[in-house]
């Protein structure tokens, strides 16, 4: 049986994403996919989905969806709260759980308490795939619903039915350690003082943050005069940190261009890129240099951590009339967001990181 989930509001921005596509950068098609693949996998695990199933990725908050006609199950991942609006009133929900939406019930996601990204995992979403992935890449009209971002009124065909709500025993920790990078491939365009600035000063996520990349604000990084601020274009990847003539670094993300002509001072390691990708405008960060071997070890450690979180998923025990997840709220969120407010959204998404 198929059920229908209607998007009442995409919030600031929402799109269908899975774990992305590979093999097509050679014709300029980026991988796209979840900015935080670990959270997408957790959301899918909460529903018993394959880990690469497509879900709704929302930026900043405000996503609202409603079950039409038949009951269906969704799961929420990301540092947010939500509320379930039903005939008898409203019920507040914390994140990192699956939830059954009965006919006519609405789920509204509040603003994100930490970062700018959350996921609503869906059971059995029927969606078009391009180049092996359902991920939306709106610039070229690939994946998702007609290749577009989600808009109010979009109806998603999902599996009907509810099979028991489940909960992540321990949500992912918020880690504020420096973002680890491997210097290069064009760190030779910068002299020692510029590298010292990059590795000692704080950088702030600017308002120019979207799925293509994040422009950082901070002390400018001057190029060596004999090397300059342009290279003959070569391949860029998610995690590439480009430094254009302005000296303000740009970190490329899932939808980032596949080639570029600016020197790349460093590359964010696999383990830390999701942590950077979900940062909201205004958050600050520092960079730390590591070796490739240390980065590989970090990638394995992150994967082991994720597997441990997934192994800790268990049935949700409804404890009386209280919110069984108050413990999460205490850990993550100080001051509960008014999830019902439609206009409580940060304005700072969607501007492009700018020139290529």
């Amino acid at each position: 049986m198929r059920a229908v989930l209607e998007v009442l509001s995409p919030g600031a921005m929402a799109s269908i994403q899975d774990l992305g596509r590979s093999g097509w950068r050679r014709i300029g098609v980026p991988g796209s996919g979840a900015l935080e693949p670990g959270w997408l996998r957790l959301g899918n695990a909460l529903l018993g989905n394959p880990e690469d199933a497509p879900a709704i990725e929302f930026l900043a908050g405000g996503l609202a969806v409603r079950a039409l006609e038949l009951p269906l199950q969704v799961a929420l991942a990301g540092h947010c709260t939500a509320e379930l609006v039903h005939a008898g009133g409203r019920r507040r929900l914390a994140s990192w759980r699956s939830v059954c939406l009965k006919q006519g019930e609405t789920l509204r996601c509040g603003n994100l308490a930490v970062g700018r990204v959350g996921y609503l995992a869906l059971a059995g979403l029927a969606v078009v795939r391009h180049f092996g992935s359902a991920s939306t890449y709106a610039r070229a009209g690939l994946g998702g619903i007609d290749g577009r971002l989600l808009a109010p009124g979009v109806r998603l065909s999902v599996a009907a039915g509810c099979s028991g709500e489940r909960l992540l025993q321990r949500p992912p920790a918020v880690d504020e350690a420096p973002i680890r990078v491997v210097p290069g491939p064009q760190d030779d365009h910068f002299d020692a003082p510029a590298m010292a600035i990059f590795f000692t000063q704080a950088y702030r996520v600017s308002a120019a943050a979207d799925r293509m990349g994040i422009r950082l604000d901070g002390p400018p990084l001057r190029h060596r005069p004999d090397k300059g601020a342009e290279i003959v274009s070569d391949a860029t990847v998610p995690g590439s940190i480009q430094v254009p003539g302005s000296g303000q670094p740009i970190v490329l993300l899932a939808d980032g261009q596949t080639a570029g002509g600016y020197p790349k001072i460093a590359t964010v390691i696999t383990a830390d890129l999701p942590r950077l990708a979900v940062m909201a405008p205004g958050q600050t960060l520092r960079f730390a240099a590591v070796s490739v071997a240390a980065a590989e070890q970090a990638a394995r450690a992150r994967e082991a951590e994720l597997q441990a979180l997934i192994a800790g998923i268990g049935p949700l025990a409804e404890a009386g009339n209280g919110d069984p997840q108050a413990i999460y709220t205490a850990n993550l969120i100080s001051g509960v967001v008014d999830a019902g407010a439609a206009d409580g959204l940060p304005a700072a998404v969607g501007r492009s990181p700018g020139e290529r």
Partner: protein, 262 residues
């Protein structure tokens, strides 16, 4: 079939892009010999991947002067991937780059419709030429597709007549319209999609350049050559109206093919 030349693939160095990506760099310029080395390395590594000799490698990305290799750091380590790459490239000879199809694409230049090429006059002034002369020179060229990248179906083509070569704009645009025909340095390109960009915009091509419904998705492939035909505003409008149907067709608009492969 590409012709194999005697001797191994050119000298290269390996650069790290974090723990999951490395770039095999053959040089720092746009040069036919480097393109041949990249093509040879790409073909050899793809064969090695298919033969299971490069565990964990998921993708290779050729550019003018380098080949980027993406692997899964949970399936293979950098030192394993590097050693396997060295072993493959030791046995790889340079090949002559593929000569592909020849296209003739219509372009409405800024001297026909100002909105078509907002930078035409500025570029002409910078080159010490009149706008009509820039159009004549640009439309008179035959450009080779060196690489695809940046955006889906974006073809980096060259070389421009040397008199037209100018560094990119100092202040990039946040919004370049889809179809814009542009120049930067010795290169020219057509933006398949609206995007930010720092190239000089001198005209617009009304044809779609990319569609997932076409067999190869990208209209232009590396090795293809592109001739241009200046069109007026009326022809531009007619082709623009036909473009949506071309994009959903099962084949790219082959009517704009100038000649078969040589």
């Amino acid at each position: 079939m590409p012709l194999r030349q005697p001797g191994a693939v050119m000298n290269y160095r390996i650069l790290s892009l974090g723990d999951a990506v490395l770039t095999i760099e053959f040089g720092a310029v746009i040069d036919r010999r480097l393109l041949a080395a990249v093509a040879a390395a790409d073909q050899a590594l793809l064969q090695a991947v298919a033969a299971g000799q490069l565990p964990g490698v998921v993708e290779t990305v050729p550019t003018f002067r380098s080949l980027t290799v993406i692997h899964d750091p949970l399936r293979s380590t950098r030192s394993e991937v590097e050693a396997a790459i060295h072993a493959v490239l030791r046995q790889t000879a340079a090949i002559v780059a593929r000569r592909g199809r020849v296209w003739q694409l219509p372009v409405c230049y800024g001297d026909q419709l100002a909105s078509c090429g907002p930078d035409l006059d500025q570029l002409a002034a910078a080159c010490g030429l009149g706008a009509a002369e820039v159009v004549r020179l640009h439309a008179g060229g035959c450009y080779e597709v060196y690489m695809l990248g940046f955006l889906p179906g974006f073809a980096f083509m060259g070389d421009l007549p040397p008199v037209l070569a100018r560094a990119r704009r100092s202040e990039p645009r946040t919004r370049v319209p889809a179809g814009s025909v542009a120049t930067a340095g010795s290169l020219t390109a057509i933006y398949p999609w609206e995007s930010p960009g720092g190239w000089h915009l001198i005209g617009v091509c009304p044809l779609p350049l990319f569609s997932p419904s076409w067999p190869q998705a990208a209209l232009l492939q590396p090795g293809d050559r592109v001739r241009l035909r200046a069109i007026d505003a009326g022809e531009f409008a007619a082709l623009q109206a036909a473009a949506p149907a071309m994009r959903v067709a099962a084949q790219p608009p082959l009517a704009f093919l100038a000649a078969a492969a040589e």
